[in-house]
């Protein structure tokens, strides 16, 4: 059996960091140490070798919107971003509320450049009224249930979903927290900029009232509750308070919510349109603080591809969402690690083992410590390489990144999935 050695890097995982080579055989790590040799060598000098990244929040658009992304193209983008597992969100057409549709996505994921786990809908058709067959979906391996893209507005439905999920081991209800009535018609953060630009607003309160309500429902039901893309200072306070009470609540934040503000919308370029919207400077500061103090558990991209023509419309008419997979780690490094907000280990915790724990993926060998016997899902990251984001060079099928032209520090050099390199020197194999 052929052996792969990742040579000369600094191994960093939940247990700490050390200079070491990593020897991989048959999909597993077989040795850690100095001076290891194999049949094939990946140079990692100057690089950090970590467990592969895990993204809790990706829109692969299959089935139904294959003109924007597919399981194949989206996972290629993921691999290039250092991810070895992604959670596919269920707002597809048809939605992932049916075992057959989920099975099809998982089957496509078997051939993909990273591990694909499917989220399942909370409600049938994501309509917010009747429960989706959560137990059947759980039987296919679904652990994260979400109507993402839409909020479960009805408190009664949310209460029952939370309750029902407690019988399904490892299940998590993941809420897109934006009260539909409060965001109706809105296209950007409600505040000084929406007021000046005349673009209808989505208030921070729309997110916070749902988080406050759902924390109370989590306490009532004892269910595992996860908040998707938390974006406001008020939300952070609510999550912090819930955790202080010992409630089983987790939260994620997206890179664009710690790097961009609502002022970006002043260009009227829908590249900056996303739900929840880009917020104020104070919100960005609060998200960074919450990532640093552990209130927020994971960085998740909310990778949301759209065809170019869909974004070439007036701001209010364009769809919401932006790409994230290929820039997430570099943005985390550039905006959070280099300025000293996070240590490297905290950054990789937020991008790998903590989201892996939320999604039940540690049991599947994702995000686990790099030691003999562990599954070889690895990311080799060069923290010194500077590069400019060029939408034309992305592996994603879509081009809607708000970071075009931005120079970032740190680039994924190699990605290893089940012991096989899927990215070598930044290029897909």
């Amino acid at each position: 059996m052929s052996e792969l050695v990742i040579k000369g890097g600094r191994v960093l995982d939940a247990t700490g960091e050390r200079e070491a080579d990593v020897l991989v055989r048959g999909g597993h790590v077989v040795a850690i140490g100095v001076g290891l040799v194999g049949d094939e060598t990946l140079d990692a000098s100057g690089c950090i070798v970590t467990p592969g990244l895990v993204d809790l929040h990706v829109h692969l658009r299959e089935p139904g919107m294959e003109e924007a992304e597919t399981v194949e193209t989206g996972t290629r983008a993921a691999a290039r971003g250092g991810f070895t597992a992604v959670v596919a969100m269920p707002n597809t057409t048809p939605p992932l509320d049916d075992p057959a549709v989920v099975a099809a996505v998982l089957a496509a994921g078997e051939r993909a450049a990273c591990t694909v786990v499917s989220a399942g809908c909370i409600t049938k058709g994501r309509a917010g009224q009747e429960l989706a067959p959560m137990g059947e979906l759980h039987g296919l391996g679904v652990r994260i249930f979400s109507d993402d893209g839409d909020c479960v507005d009805d408190a009664g439905v949310m209460r029952r979903a939370l309750e029902y999920s407690t019988a399904l081991p490892g299940a998590v209800i993941a809420q897109h927290a934006e009260d539909s009535a409060l965001v109706a018609g809105g296209a950007m953060h409600e505040g000084e900029w929406s007021s000046r630009l005349g673009i209808p607003g989505r208030p921070a309160a729309a997110e916070e009232v749902i988080i406050a309500r759902d924390v109370i429902l989590a306490a009532l039901t004892g269910a595992r509750l996860h908040f998707l893309h938390v974006s406001t200072a008020g939300s952070v306070e609510l999550v912090r308070a819930a955790k202080a009470r010992g409630l089983p609540v987790t939260a994620e934040a997206a890179p664009h919510h710690f790097t961009l503000t609502d002022e970006c919308c002043a260009t009227f370029d829908p590249m900056f349109k996303v739900n929840p919207p880009l917020r104020s400077d104070a919100d960005v500061a609060a998200i960074k603080a919450a990532l640093a103090d552990g209130t927020i558990d994971a960085i998740a991209t909310d990778h949301a591809p759209h065809p170019t023509e869909a974004k070439e419309r007036p701001f209010e008419e364009a769809p919401s969402g932006m790409l994230g997979l290929e820039t997430a780690l570099a943005l985390t490094w550039t905006e959070l690690v280099e300025p000293g907000v996070l240590t490297p280990q905290e950054a990789f915790a937020l991008l790998s083992w903590r989201p892996a724990a939320i999604a039940g993926l540690l049991e599947r060998g994702q995000g686990v410590a790099i030691e003999p016997g562990s599954d070889a899902h690895l990311c080799v990251f060069d923290p010194s390489q500077r590069w400019e984001v060029d939408p034309q060079r992305l592996a994603s099928k879509a081009r809607n990144t708000p970071f075009a032209g931005r120079t970032l520090t740190g680039k994924v050099r190699h990605t290893v999935l089940r012991g096989k390199p899927v990215v070598i020197d930044g290029e897909l194999t």
């Binding site: 409600e190 000046r196 005349g198």
Partner: protein, 310 residues
């Protein structure tokens, strides 16, 4: 002012830009009063009006202005165009530009649509009203109207803009323009019709029209859209009129030389009483007249060679 390519928002202009445009508007106002109100200043220039929203006065005003400058004018009608076949805004404007045009006048229901158009084509873009964002030529014609009554500077003038500020492009452009020329601007509305914040706006806010009425030099009423009634923004038109309408009784408490303005179209009996709209304080018809001169000035500034108007 030289080198100005587009007119997208009042926020892009400085006080002296506004003053230059108003000076030029005065000279075009003179042109519009000649027996033959037409000059060859922009002969051969092609101006397209691209209206994605219904409009009577703004569209006719722009087309009249362009014709009085001897432009060739093409009117694009959304209802009879490829837009009905699903053509995108970008494809539409690029198709029109390929025919060889110098300026496009855009009215759209979405804020910033003219900014997008300006990023896609080389021709000049004039914003004729975009969603709830801006309506810069309305603000210019309002300024021209005010300065003909109050003098070249509005320093210290008390102006109240009353009505659905949150959804009004007229209010956004007007507040910026009036304040830029020195006016003291107050926005008056129920809290539900104000933007969530006025941080960054050069204005103060009031919910009490009666308290302000005796101090005003100018009261500017905005159209109340009847459909807002059902959107939990205020209980009824009757209650709106009682609290914020310029009724005959309220108008009687205005200063004698105060001016009454409205961008049209009016809901008589809602935001303004018919008698007040027709009364001596009203300059509403003058606003419409001044619209042509102001739009001539804008077109000339964007497309002209800089040679004197003859």
């Amino acid at each position: 002012m030289t080198g100005m390519k587009h007119l997208l928002s009042i926020a892009d202009l400085e006080r002296n830009d506004l003053e230059d445009l108003l000076e030029l508007s005065e000279s075009f106002r003179e042109v519009t009063q000649r027996d033959i109100p037409k000059v060859p200043a922009l002969r051969g220039k092609v101006v397209v009006s691209l209206f994605y929203e219904d409009s009577t006065r703004t569209r006719i005003s722009f087309e009249t202005a362009a014709k009085r400058l001897s432009c060739d004018v093409m009117a694009f009608s959304v209802s009879s165009s490829s837009v009905q076949k699903g053509e995108s805004l970008r494809d539409t404007v690029q198709t029109i530009e390929a025919m060889g045009i110098d300026a496009v006048v855009v009215r759209h229901s979405a804020a910033g649509a003219p900014n997008r158009v300006a990023s896609w084509i080389d021709a000049s873009v004039i914003n004729a009203g975009d969603g709830c964002h801006e309506h810069p030529t309305q603000a210019l014609l309002d300024l021209l109207t005010l300065r003909r009554h109050l003098g070249a500077s509005l320093d210290g003038a008390r102006v109240a803009i009353v009505g659905d500020i949150a959804h009004s492009r007229v209010a956004r452009s007007g507040a910026l323009a009036f304040a830029a020329l020195g006016a003291d601007v107050t926005l008056v509305a129920p809290p539900t019709l104000l933007p969530s914040t006025v941080a960054g706006w050069p204005v103060t806010v009031s919910h009490d029209l009666d308290e302000l009425i005796p101090e005003l030099d100018v009261i500017y009423l905005l159209r109340i859209q009847r459909e807002r009634q059902g959107a939990v923004l205020f209980p009824s038109l009757r209650e709106y009129t009682a609290r914020y309408g310029l009724t005959v009784e309220r108008a009687s408490r205005l200063r004698k030389d105060a001016l009454v303005m409205h961008p049209g179209p009016m809901n008589r009996g809602v935001e303004i009483a018919a008698e007040v709209a027709e009364g001596p304080a009203s300059v509403i018809t003058e606003q419409v007249t001044n619209g042509v001169a102001v739009r001539m000035a804008v077109l000339y500034t964007l497309l002209g060679t800089g040679a004197p108007v003859v």
